[in-house]
């Protein structure tokens, strides 16, 4: 294992024309708008900032227990607590723009028109580099139905948002589906610039003493290392089905995990739950990738994207 040269390796990637200085960013809802983690590291070290979901109106979030730990994972039923678009534009955006790294805004809604309106409003704001369209939110009522777990629904929503979206449009897919490649192809056909995948799995923990579900909302979204192998498989499958870039998400907590997603075909990755149990997870992933590249003589991170993909039939 000879070091090719000791020059700093190039970690930059391009996601749908957007240049990121490295492929690592936080996952929506797992990093606030960065203010808490600014106390642990320099936010400008990240490839981009992805904030928590903005919904058409302010949402107080769910009552009762909102999180519960599971084996190597957790369930959350936060209920998209957020102050709404006005407060976001007034209090948050001006501050995070100042960071000088791309800012992605995650948009969640309950109805098609709401997605369209919100997308139109937020995508035209200077400082918003991309709209991440949260097509999956199991925690906002309507029984267990999710907004977009069928290709038709994904197609409709992305098609409707595309014309009004003045910036990059990145649908975020739900894994609670039979064939994730069908959702991905629908999103691509509807004009998506990239895909974020995956969101959380719907899960439940029962309190055997109280004889009822632990979470106030009964079910919650499962995230964390436990789900990583399913997420890697989905990224691997989708990388073979579409040609737009993929942002890999699900259980990434170390640089090794990030490499798995990149080698499966992701162009960038998001770190979610890991920030909760290691507030420095994101900078450690970035640093770890860089060290690995130096140790393995990899000059450009783009070399490893899709490196583990075996030709079909192989």
């Amino acid at each position: 294992m000879e070091l090719k040269q000791s020059a700093r390796p190039n970690l930059s990637v391009t996601v749908a024309g957007m240049e990121l200085k490295n492929p690592v960013m936080p996952a929506s809802g797992c990093f606030g708008w960065g203010e808490e983690y600014a106390r642990f590291f320099d936010l400008t070290d990240m490839g981009a900032l992805v904030g928590k979901a903005v919904t058409p109106r302010p949402r107080p979030g769910n009552a009762g227990v909102r999180i519960v730990e599971t084996p190597s994972g957790m369930l959350n039923a936060i209920g998209l607590q957020n102050p709404g678009p006005e407060a976001f534009l007034r209090d948050v955006l001006p501050r995070v723009r100042e960071l000088g790294i791309p800012v992605w805004v995650n948009v969640s809604a309950n109805a098609l028109q709401e997605y369209v309106d919100l997308c139109g409003l937020l995508s035209s704001q200077p400082g918003v580099s991309a709209i991440e369209l949260n097509l999956s939110c199991p925690n906002v009522g309507r029984g267990h139905a999710e907004f977009c777990v069928t290709p038709e629904a994904v197609m409709d929503t992305v098609s409707a948002c595309r014309p009004v979206c003045r910036t990059h449009l990145i649908p975020k897919l739900s894994p609670n589906t039979t064939d994730i490649t069908a959702l991905a192809r629908a999103a691509e056909a509807a004009g998506a610039d990239a895909l974020s995948m995956i969101n959380t799995f719907v899960g439940m923990v029962i309190d055997i003493d109280k004889r009822r579900p632990v979470l106030g909302n009964r079910t919650g979204g499962m995230s964390g290392p436990a789900v990583r192998p399913i997420a890697v498989r989905m990224v691997y499958e989708v990388a073979g089905a579409v040609s737009i870039p993929i942002i890999g998400i699900g259980g990434i907590s170390t640089w090794r995990d990030a490499l798995e997603f990149l080698m499966a075909g992701a162009t960038a990755v998001q770190v979610g739950t890991a920030s909760f149990f290691n507030p420095r997870a994101i900078p450690e992933v970035i640093q770890g990738l860089e060290t690995w590249m130096v140790d393995h003589g990899v000059a450009n991170i783009r070399e490893v994207i899709g490196a583990a993909r075996v030709p079909t039939g192989g």
């Binding site: 606030g32 106390r39 642990f40 979030g61 999180i67 994972g73 957790m74 959350n76 149990f277 507030p279």
Partner: protein, 264 residues
């Protein structure tokens, strides 16, 4: 720039059992010790493995600024505390803090501490810091436990010159019954301030009594936590004015009137 929080892989300096299933762990954490205020907590986690996954919140029991270490007192109740207990001196744990809000100075000259179960640690830290103040203060500590064997921190409270009164569920020490039964008398005829920490039902009772007795009351709450730093929005409690407050950030110490105790 917000205040930095220290994240350390801190060495375990000492770790011993103080009562059945109750342990005191001492961590080498100078920066945390220096900043620690009574009522605040840290997040602690073993470094290896992903089960248990999340860090656990533990109140600061003692901060030795000069020695550069902090003490935490915890009861082994589930996977997180079981895992912590396995860390013998010389090993390291991930720890970050100090986190959350602190007890505010009392207005009058009498302080009534109300602690139940493992709610005692932050009150001990508070009693010690109050004793170190130049202002003379009468400190009454009402301590509740299931039974004598799970009473912890009593010696330290006494050393901090607190007047300790005990209630146990089984009457094995002190009064048989709830610690809140001792409260009205302790508050009586004085400009007292109540500081309470313990199980939620106890806190509800204290908040109610504090209101009845028209006594300023601060309560340190617990909630399931993922991040401990304000990011996950998992640890919320309902606010009286509507919406939710994060126990890890706006709390753990809340003023009696800021919480919607009925909905909690």
């Amino acid at each position: 720039m917000p205040e930095a929080i220290e994240l350390l892989h801190a060495e375990v300096l000492d770790h011993h059992e103080v009562a059945p299933d109750h342990w005191v762990i001492t961590l080498d954490a100078p920066e945390i010790a220096a900043g620690a205020r009574p009522g605040q907590f840290v997040m602690v986690r073993g470094i290896q493995g992903t089960d248990p996954l999340l860090p656990r919140a533990l109140s600061i029991y003692h901060a030795d600024v000069e020695g550069g270490c902090i003490e935490l007192l915890y009861r082994v109740v589930g996977p997180g505390t079981t895992r912590l207990q396995e860390h013998e001196p010389g090993r390291r744990v991930a720890v970050w803090g100090p986190l959350g809000s602190q007890f505010r100075l009392p207005e009058g000259d009498r302080v009534v501490l109300v602690g139940g179960g493992v709610g005692v640690p932050p009150l001990v830290f508070w009693a010690e810091r109050l004793a170190a103040l130049s202002v003379p203060m009468e400190v009454i500590a009402l301590i509740g436990a299931q039974s004598e064997s799970s009473l912890v921190g009593i010696d330290r409270l006494r050393r901090a010159r607190a007047n300790v009164r005990i209630a146990t569920d089984d009457g094995s020490q002190g009064r048989k019954g709830y610690v809140t039964d001792l409260l009205p008398q302790a508050v009586q005829s004085a400009r007292a301030t109540i500081y309470a920490c313990g199980p939620t039902p106890m806190l509800k009772a204290v908040a109610r009594l504090g209101k009845t007795l028209e006594t300023p009351t601060e309560l340190a709450l617990e909630a399931p936590m993922a991040c401990g730093v304000g990011a996950c929005l998992g640890c919320t409690v309902p606010r009286r004015e509507g919406g939710f407050a994060r126990v890890c950030t706006e709390g753990p110490v809340f003023d009696r009137d800021s919480i919607d105790w009925e909905t909690l």
